[in-house]
């Protein structure tokens, strides 16, 4: 397990963007600095199937949540499906809200970290530097979305799963905070692949594990700075909103609200 502790996501990302000028061409550098990664979540399409949760768990070496972990509220999941009930029985409806790190522009978790273990990188990602983290958990308090998870112990997997760990992702030790990275390892790989084939990263080249696993395409990942990307299109939609927008965090995750099939035409006219 410990042998898997390769370079952290953070150091990998820095190596690809700002490190030695000889290894990175000017074009790549421009490509690297020109992004603002974002995601859109279409609530209307989400069926609450939890495929994203499982995919994330596998991709990012998140420890397995046994029953006890869930009952003591220490279960870790970088993306979670919040289920809310609407209406009274027998007409109750389940509403699902996938919540992951919002990679806020004005992130409340960043200024409070004394060790600078979390910061904003050049591509708008909210980065967690595991090596610097000392586990004050101040960031987890600051985060209104409660998406930061603390490692109460060293993670353990059954023997049969040890070899299944993703070598691209650090296994986090006890005493530090971890959270969604937008699968920064996939972003970096896409950038490297593009550089090798002398192209630039195109919309749709990168999909984090949750996006890849989503059966209804409720989750879409892309570059918010690219005006023609799918995620920009979603962000400009009439249905777009941000989670807890009143907190002024400037999230990079756009939610598309549910289309109400019972909406009367008069109200539509009123709004239109």
């Amino acid at each position: 397990m410990s042998s898997i502790k390769s370079a952290t996501d953070e150091s990998a990302s820095r190596a690809a963007t700002v490190a030695g000028g000889t290894t990175i061409s000017e074009e790549e550098r421009r490509a690297g600095f020109g992004h603002r990664w974002g995601m859109s979540v279409d609530i209307d399409l989400c069926t609450g199937c939890q495929a994203c949760v499982v995919a994330c768990q596998t991709e990012n070496n998140v420890a397995i949540n046994e029953e006890q972990r869930v009952t003591e509220k220490r279960a870790k999941s970088w993306i979670r499906i919040e289920r809310y009930w609407e209406g009274e029985f027998p007409n109750a409806k389940a509403r699902y809200l996938p919540v992951l790190c919002q990679h806020c522009d004005n992130a409340p978790c960043e200024p409070v970290c004394p060790a600078w273990a979390t910061y904003h990188n050049e591509e708008g990602l909210n980065v967690q530097v595991y090596n610097r983290c000392i586990g004050t958990r101040f960031c987890a308090n600051g985060c209104p979305y409660s998406v930061r998870h603390f490692n109460f112990w060293n993670p353990e997997w059954p023997d049969s799963l040890e070899n299944m760990l993703n070598p691209d992702v650090t296994v986090r030790t006890k005493g530090i905070i971890e959270k969604c990275t937008f699968c920064v390892q996939r972003i970096n790989r896409a950038r490297r692949d593009a550089a090798q084939s002398d192209t630039v990263v195109k919309d749709g080249d990168i999909s984090p594990a949750c996006v890849q696993a989503c059966p209804t395409n409720s989750l879409v990942f892309g570059d918010l700075k690219d005006p023609f990307s799918k995620v920009s299109e979603a962000a400009n939609s009439d249905r777009a909103y941000h989670l807890l927008e009143e907190r002024g965090t400037g999230p990079a995750v756009v939610y598309l609200k549910k289309i109400d099939p019972n909406a009367t035409s008069s109200s539509e006219e009123h709004h239109g």
Binding site: V99, P111, I134, R137, S146, F150, N151, G175, T249
Partner: protein
Amino acid sequence: MQEPPAYDVKTIDRRLFDFMLHTPKWFFTTSAGLLTIFGAGFVVFVTMLYFGLQFMGYSHPVYWGFLIVNFVFWIGISHAGVFVSAVLRLTQAEFRRPVTRAAEVVTIFSLQAAVLFPLIHSGRPWRTAYWAFPYDFIRGMWPNPRSPLVWDPSAIFTYLTSTILFVYVALLPDLALARDRAEDPVRRWIFTVLALGFRGTSRQWRIQAIAGILLSAIILPIFVSVHSIVSWDFAVTSVPGWHNTVFAPYFVIGAVHSGVSAVVTAMIVMKWAFKLDGYITADHIDALARVLIAVATGWLFLLFLDFSFGLYGEESAEVDTWMQRIYGGAWPILAPIFIITSYIIPVPLWLIKSVRRSFGWMFATTILVNIGMWLERYMLVIPALERKSSLTFTYSEYIPSISEGILCLASFAFVIVGVLAFCKVLPVMPAADIREGALLSTELKIGRRSVPATLRE
């Protein structure tokens, strides 16, 4: 008001140095008991180092608990020392004289207890040096100056340093006295070194007095800043219920409330334990109780402001937090206990003169205040995390674990043992200061009445 001191200079010395030179039997048993509790806390800490923080009562969104409550509590207690000695010294309150040393010693040890908690509570305490002492200059790894947790250690260590200096300057004449009276050569040698050659020449006295007054004046801004900065640990984050502009004055005055109460408790215990009748008198307790009435009422006003600021905005998250504080949590009974013990019982009782002048009553009420003020910190820190945002899916409850209880008790044991050890090694009562008071005090005749007074040059 004040009783004239009834002792001549010789008696003052003998009585005040008694505990240093002769050890009563209870000292060993008490110390052993307290050290056992402290040891238990240490065992818990080492276990946590090895196995991680799984033994704490934290759950997903509630990542701060008892340890931070204790941290704020002990910082609060530490405010007593400077308030009692610096403020009362500058205002020339005569009743402070026997009280100052005890208050300062409580400050020193409670500050150290407070400093321990953020270290114990962090996930990787061995790395915390990066944050408190950024030594890693070559790699440019600096701490984040925007974080209140970086302001914290600088404020607290400044306070600790200046308090130790303050105590040391006040101790110098007493150390010289102890040196002169020590019979044991080892002890005499130690006191000779510590007394820094203080012989009581007029020049030395003048320097010592000026240093004391200067330090009193310099330490006051630090005194206000420390708890303000501790309050910003909460107030500058965006957590509803924490994010409040009134927090800094609210914390400072709450600290004085709990701290002065703790000093009264400590004084009464010292009077009982060291038999200091005649030095710590009903007058002193009475005067401090009057101070406490004013402080407690100011604190209640700021509590009300905090409450009304929270509700006035009608923001649902703030309201949820207050609901959780008052009706929710693992034990909804805590809110009434908090307000009853910290204000409703003690303050009306202090309005009665016979209560203010009774050691038993004052002991009981000041203990109550500190139970209440500990709960106040609990109410401030934890319910806000249990109801952090309007995403009800992440609502949680905090239930402290036994380990956290042990660490909490261990901090109390640490402070008590520290104060006891200080009293054993160094003079517990400021003998020189009391002597000065005895020399300055006299009787003034005003009409037919004779009034005790203090003469100054």
